[in-house]
């Protein structure tokens, strides 16, 4: 632990008194040191694991500021936190790894990747609702009456006050605009 800067004790004691600048300086100075110590302790860990361990150490340090005694060196305090939190992170990784399956070799279209049988229908319906929302109010009203609520032309004419012919033309145009809004090209 000879790498400890003499200022660390002063900074950490000042941080306990609420000095944000000293605390920031300590954390900035300790960050590369923590990364190096983590790589030394867990040489087989991936880069992201090392960053997670360092992050957990920083958070645990923040919660445990009250535990530091200014008469003691800072490096063993930081390293002690890292050993305990790092071991916990590694244990969690191993526990999760036992329940995980690598998906790299599974085709994207595999049925195993579907979360539930209605998933595709639900996604399509949500996309169509969003597209209807982008149409004009008149188009939305026509589609709502004739396609969603499935009223007859005569019923829709009575509700809206439009003629049956106007409703037919309006429906044709609204559907064309809906197809366009959903990115579906018309086949001529």
């Amino acid at each position: 632990m000879a790498e400890e800067d003499a200022n660390w004790r002063i900074w950490l004691a000042a941080a306990q008194a609420g000095d944000r600048r000293a605390y920031g300086a300590l954390l900035a100075a300790a960050l590369p040191w923590l990364r190096a110590r983590a790589r030394g302790r867990w040489p087989t860990a991936t880069l992201s694991d090392i960053e997670d361990i360092v992050q957990e150490t920083l958070l645990a340090l923040h919660r445990s500021l009250a535990l530091y005694q200014p008469c003691r060196p800072v490096a063993p305090f930081l390293f002690g936190i890292m050993k305990l939190r790092g071991a916990e992170v590694r244990r969690q990784r191993h526990r999760h790894a036992a329940r995980e399956t690598i998906l790299d070799d599974v085709p994207a279209t595999s049925e195993a990747l579907r979360m539930n049988p209605d998933q595709d229908a639900a996604v399509d319906q949500a996309a169509m609702q969003a597209a209807i929302g982008r149409l004009s109010l008149r188009d939305q009203e026509i589609l709502d009456m004739l396609k969603l609520r499935e009223l007859s032309l005569l019923e829709a004419a009575a509700v809206s006050g439009l003629t049956v012919t106007a409703l037919k033309v309006g429906t044709f145009r609204a559907i064309r605009r809906l197809r366009h809004a959903m990115g579906v090209e018309d086949v001529e």
């Binding site: 306990q16 000095d19 600048r21 960050l31 920083l58 923040h62 919660r63 009250a66 535990l67 005694q69």
Partner: protein, 224 residues
């Protein structure tokens, strides 16, 4: 969130903290609360009529001293366990003290069994030991939980086990002043069994209480 940004966020939300007392000082506080309570419990339960002559007997005094030693070592280890910079050997102090205590008790049991031609080995049912240890140990255990909850901590399971052992060891020390066992084997099995039971139960309860008190408010910083 990257660690560089995390540092900035942590520094921005820093607020002053009360420095936690050192483990030795916490142990002294705990003893200052526990010893008068155990003295009171002993007086309320009625001390044995021969308590003064018992305390003058070297073997009994040694048992009591080792119970106190185990209790103090376990309390100190419990407070050290919560500190990340405390060395591992301090956490094992109660193991050594407990081994010494059990070793001395075992040796006394063997020598007594020889001198009484097996009389010391006769085992009697002494169910009262269990509630007596619980009554004597509850106040030290509560005091320990209060002191341990004072600050965030690490190695919670170890701390709780040591804390419960500390309470049970001092309770056993007090128990022998007001409760008489019919034979040494009865004392060894029922009283020390009660100590073990109290230690395990106290450890589980303490872990549940202290584990719930652990601060978790910074989890949002981990989200990226």
């Amino acid at each position: 969130m990257s660690n560089e940004r995390l540092i900035t966020a942590l520094a921005d939300e820093l607020s002053p903290v009360y420095r936690a007392p050192a483990p030795a000082r916490l142990t002294m506080w705990w003893l200052a609360v526990t010893v008068p309570i155990l003295a009171l419990v002993t007086l309320m339960m009625g001390p044995r009529p021969d308590v003064l002559s018992l305390l003058l007997r070297p073997d009994f005094a040694l048992d009591e001293a080792l119970a106190v030693l185990t209790g103090v070592a376990a309390a100190y280890a419990a407070f050290c366990a919560g500190r990340p910079d405390q060395p591992g050997w301090k956490l094992l102090l109660p193991v050594g003290a407990m081994a010494l205590w059990l070793g001395v008790l075992g040796r006394q049991c063997m020598s007594l069994s020889v001198s009484t031609q097996g009389g010391a080995l006769r085992l009697h049912v002494d169910v009262m030991c269990v509630p007596a240890i619980a009554v004597a140990g509850i106040a030290p255990a509560v005091a320990m939980v209060v002191l341990l909850r004072h600050s965030p901590m690490f190695r919670t399971a170890h701390a709780c086990l040591c804390a419960a052992l500390a309470a049970a060891a001092l309770a056993e020390c007090a128990l022998r002043l007001f409760h008489r066992a019919d034979s040494f084997a009865t004392m060894l099995v029922w009283q020390m069994g009660s100590v073990a039971l109290f230690t395990l139960a106290g450890s589980l309860v303490g872990r549940a209480i202290i584990g719930r008190a652990q601060p978790n408010g910074l989890a949002s910083h981990v989200e990226s």
